[in-house]
């Protein structure tokens, strides 16, 4: 970052690193608010360890003129309260990065930082204790150095503090403002004077949303008429449960924190039997526990929406890190053959839309519908256009009313039909009493082992997916339509690939991208996209190429498909992907 009298921020990545629970991450929140107020698109990333106190906690923040759904390749500003934070970041520093460092405990070792990186180090923690009597104020001291380096006017920062700390009372606000002034004094001493830089921007349209994928999915659930939700806390899915606990009662719905995931999924099934749109959400280990219930919904033909906020696996794996390694479990998990649909949103707007769509598909085709998110998409905060609420529709499929039932001489819950979908009535509807079971059954729902009936029932259930195909959400495409090189990615890979494409283009490699929004069943559009390219790189966040495998199993041309994989627990980064593809293309 070069000092100049006036500067416009195009794209800045900030990392704040401290010990978990010491308040240092609020530095990131304060900076995000200030940058957002300057008209920038803000994306924030969490990289906390799965514990409340202790351990290195890192918050990432990106403020950019263009909308971005991921952190960039380089970090322009690091604010760190311990050396470990710097050591973790040193390879990612931009050549002219700024490092603000609290050297209360450990001085900065000579030679650790590259030559052109500017270091502003002071014992913030000790100063905070000595001058203000509380170590917590180290954070506000550091904010001053960070905002000076970003070129945000001191008065704007003070104003931001007033907005943020007012509710905590005048004493706390006053102490924080004192700490801030202490920081400004330090900045002066170090040559970071005020007034040189002016950050202003007009890239972000008014009224954009600042929202995570989990929040967007929760909002989509309510908009789409979801009125029963049961869940069990698990990172990184908990915010869906918590958001709905706050919102759904106002819409006449019920949210319940169940005793475990087995209860959650079966409660949702019970609610669906009573005719209420129902959903549960969890992450890998919870999805594993729910497999029996999900397969049961598939067999018994019960509408059910399950959100999987994927995290690093296997087993308890990396609870707070992103990964896309439950795709096989969603597409192929469970005992026996049963229909299921797997939808894959790529940004919070997609999370909203596809949750609405999942509710409709679940009732229309009476089967489980997965929404596959991942930690980065679930928990990171992105700037995005407001959702199109006017486009929301509610389609309850072949649901029978009391009047319809009264006009029928006979109602068979599992009646055979051309599209495989039987009409259904829900508990409470006069005249629609029926038997619902996960055992093989005849059209009336009576348990049956007749081979002829069995074969027809298996085919009926399979037919539902064929019938659904035409209405399953289509993918998003972007890039040069004439490019012979294709990219495929879902979830948080979508936004990262958008940026990687720019880097590829700059490197002379022209590409086009497909984000399949339905991963299972594999749609013809995905197969056709692959055959229309010479080579397609399937970029995903797991060790074995699960997405590529699902597409191949669905008929994708494996001769044209290449895998780009990441499984080290770090988020996908555009530069890494672009570099790898350029390297492989130049062989």
């Amino acid at each position: 970052m070069t000092a100049s009298t006036e500067r416009r921020i195009e794209d800045v990545n900030v990392i704040v690193s401290g010990q978990g629970g010491d308040g240092s991450l609020t530095v990131s929140t304060i900076l995000a608010d200030l940058l957002r107020q300057r008209g920038l698109n803000v994306y924030t990333e969490r990289d906390v360890l799965s514990r409340i106190k202790g351990g290195v906690a890192v918050a990432g923040l990106r403020a950019s003129r263009d909308v971005r759904f991921g952190r960039g390749d380089h970090v322009e500003l690091v604010v760190s309260f311990d050396l470990e934070g710097i050591e973790k970041m040193v390879t990612q520093l931009a050549p002219d990065a700024v490092v603000v460092y609290d050297d209360s405990d450990v001085p900065m070792p000579a030679g650790l930082l590259p030559a052109n990186v500017r270091l502003f180090a002071a014992p913030f923690a000790r100063l905070a204790v000595r001058k203000l009597g509380r170590i917590l104020y180290k954070n506000s001291i550091a904010v001053a150095l960070a905002t000076r380096s970003l070129g945000i006017a001191d008065d704007d920062v003070r104003h931001g503090f007033e907005q943020r700390f007012n509710r905590l009372g005048p004493a706390i606000l006053g102490q924080n403002l004192q700490a801030l002034d202490l920081g400004f004094e330090l900045a002066e001493e170090m040559g970071l004077s005020a007034g040189h830089d002016t950050v202003e921007q007009d890239g972000r349209p008014e009224g954009q949303l600042q929202i995570t994928g989990n929040q967007a999915a929760a909002l989509g659930f309510i908009a789409g008429g979801g009125r029963f939700f049961a869940g069990y806390p698990i990172t990184p899915a908990t915010e869906i449960l918590e958001s709905l606990e706050g919102w759904l009662p106002d819409f006449g719905g019920v949210v319940w924190q169940a005793e475990d995931e087995l209860a959650s999924v079966n409660m949702a099934i019970g609610a669906a039997l009573a005719g209420v749109r129902a959903m549960t959400s969890t992450s890998g280990p919870g999805i594993a526990l729910m497999q029996e219930g999900i397969g049961h919904a598939g067999s018994a033909e019960i509408p059910l929406v399950v959100v999987d906020c994927q995290r690093g696996g296997p087993s308890t794996g990396l609870p707070t890190k992103p990964e896309q390694s439950d795709l096989n479990m969603m597409a192929f998990g469970g005992n026996g053959d049963f229909p299921r649909i797997v939808l894959n949103p790529g940004d919070p707007g997609d999370c909203f839309e596809l949750t609405v769509e999942a509710l409709n598909l679940a009732e229309r085709f009476q089967c489980p519908v997965y929404l596959a998110l991942d930690q980065a998409l679930s928990q990171n905060l992105a700037t995005i256009a407001p959702f199109d609420l006017d486009a929301v529709t509610v389609d309850r499929g072949k649901r029978l009313s009391a009047e319809q039932l009264a006009s029928m001489s006979e109602y068979r819950r599992y009646a055979f039909s051309d599209d495989g979908v039987s009409a259904y009535s829900v508990a409470g509807t006069p005249g629609g009493m029926s038997l619902v079971t996960g055992n093989e059954r005849d059209e009336f729902g009576r348990v049956s082992t007749s081979p002829e009936n069995r074969a027809r029932m298996v085919e009926k259930r399979a037919q539902k997916i064929e019938s659904a195909r035409a209405d399953l959400p289509r993918g998003r495409r972007t890039g040069d339509p004439g490019a012979t090189l294709g990219l495929i990615g879902v979830g948080s890979a979508y936004g990262v690939l958008l940026e990687a494409m720019e880097e590829l283009e700059a490197g002379g490699v022209s590409t086009r991208l497909l984000q399949p929004r339905t991963v299972f069943p594999v749609l013809d559009e995905t197969l056709e996209f692959i055959t229309s390219c010479e080579r397609v790189y399937v970029v995903e966040h797991n060790a074995t190429g699960q997405l590529a495998g699902i597409i191949a199993q669905g008929g994708g041309d494996t001769k044209r498909m290449r895998k780009v994989l990441r499984y080290d627990g770090l988020p996908l980064r555009p530069g890494d992907i672009a570099r790898e593809i350029i390297e492989r293309e130049s062989l």
């Binding site: 803000v42 009224g207 954009q208 949303l209 600042q210 909002l219 908009a223 008429g225 009125r227 029963f228 049961a230 919102w247 009662p249 106002d250 819409f251 006449g252 719905g253 319940w256 005793e259 087995l262 209860a263 079966n266 409660m267 019970g270 609610a271 669906a272 039997l273 009573a274 005719g275 209420v276 749109r277 129902a278 219930g293 049961h296 018994a300 700037t383 407001p386 959702f387 609420l389 929301v392 509610v394 009264a406 029928m408 006979e410 109602y411 819950r413 508990a427 409470g428 006069p430 005249g431 629609g432 009493m433 029926s434 038997l435 619902v436 079971t437 996960g438 009336f444 009576r446 348990v447």
Partner: protein
């Protein structure tokens, strides 16, 4: 009248205790004037897991051990339904034992009938958590008593025990249990000793081991401490109480959560103004 499903022939053996449970339940709907379309009968897995096939109601065959969460989900989704969960002792004390604890604790307004025969009948006679000591493999671990479990939890509001060999008492208790749930008082648990004639035929033994609480002078089903003392004392003699063991006051879960009848208006036109307001709270 629309014909929906023809009632099936029970798979149970002649003399099976479950016939009594079925009679008591089916008749209770009529005695209590429950419209059949407002009744749900959810059953678990095992011999008991077929009871819904013989009752005109919305029947559901749950996964093994998961009948309680499914029933609670249905009740929370539509509190106007009369929701009956039924299942065996393996279903409710072994694979689904965890849910029973939380049903007592959280008090959803459902009636749970445990068709307790002390064995896994459908898989041909293995020991269950309520098998008597010495039964086949049950050499370790003493029989679990769900009523004692319920008495130990402060959230419990209704505990009763019937016996398949006493149809009159079972009918009275079934009515009382359903009434408790219907009245918004919450979770009604009815343990029914329902002998398995094929693998654990103990009719001859049970009658002498049961103590009808109606014959106990001064027994007050509102006194949890006394109920526990008596049940523990009886257990020491190898006996169990039958009748209304405990009835307490409590708010049903659906009432505590303010659950509305099913199908709050989810039409987008009606729904969207409030959704828009919520979305607008995310504008930066």
């Amino acid at each position: 009248m629309t014909e929906t499903f023809p009632l099936a022939e029970p798979i149970w053996c002649a003399g099976c205790g479950h016939f009594s449970v079925l009679s008591a339940l089916d008749a209770a709907f009529d005695r209590l004037d429950v419209p059949r379309h407002e009744a749900m009968v959810l059953a678990g897995i095992g011999c008991s897991g077929t009871i819904q096939n013989h009752v005109t109601a919305y029947g559901y065959h749950a996964l093994h051990g998961r009948v309680l969460p499914a029933a609670a989900g249905a009740k929370l989704a539509n509190p106007s339904l009369t929701v009956i969960a039924a299942g065996g002792d393996g279903d409710g004390l072994a694979i689904g034992g965890g849910h029973l604890l939380h049903a007592f604790r959280t008090n959803p307004g459902i009636t749970y009938i445990m068709m307790n025969n002390g064995t896994y009948g459908l898989t041909k006679g293995q020991a269950s958590p309520s098998s008597q000591l010495g039964f086949h493999g049950a050499t370790e671990g003493r029989a679990a008593d769900p009523i004692m479990l319920g008495l130990s939890l402060p959230g419990t509001t209704f505990l009763a025990r019937g016996y398949s060999g006493d149809a009159a008492q079972l009918a009275t208790l079934t009515d009382a249990a359903i009434r408790h749930s219907q009245a918004g008082k919450g979770f009604a648990f009815l343990d029914v000793i329902s002998p398995c004639v094929a693998y654990n035929d103990r009719y001859h033994n049970w009658r002498a081991r049961l103590c009808d609480l109606d014959t106990v002078d001064g027994y007050d089903p509102r006194d949890r401490t006394a109920a526990f003392s008596l049940a523990a004392a009886l257990e020491a003699e190898g006996k169990k109480p039958t009748g209304l063991v405990y009835e307490g006051e409590g708010l049903a879960l659906e009432a505590a959560l303010g659950a509305a009848p099913a199908d709050a208006n989810i039409d987008p036109a009606a729904n969207m103004p409030a959704v828009r307001e919520l979305m607008d709270s995310f504008r930066g």
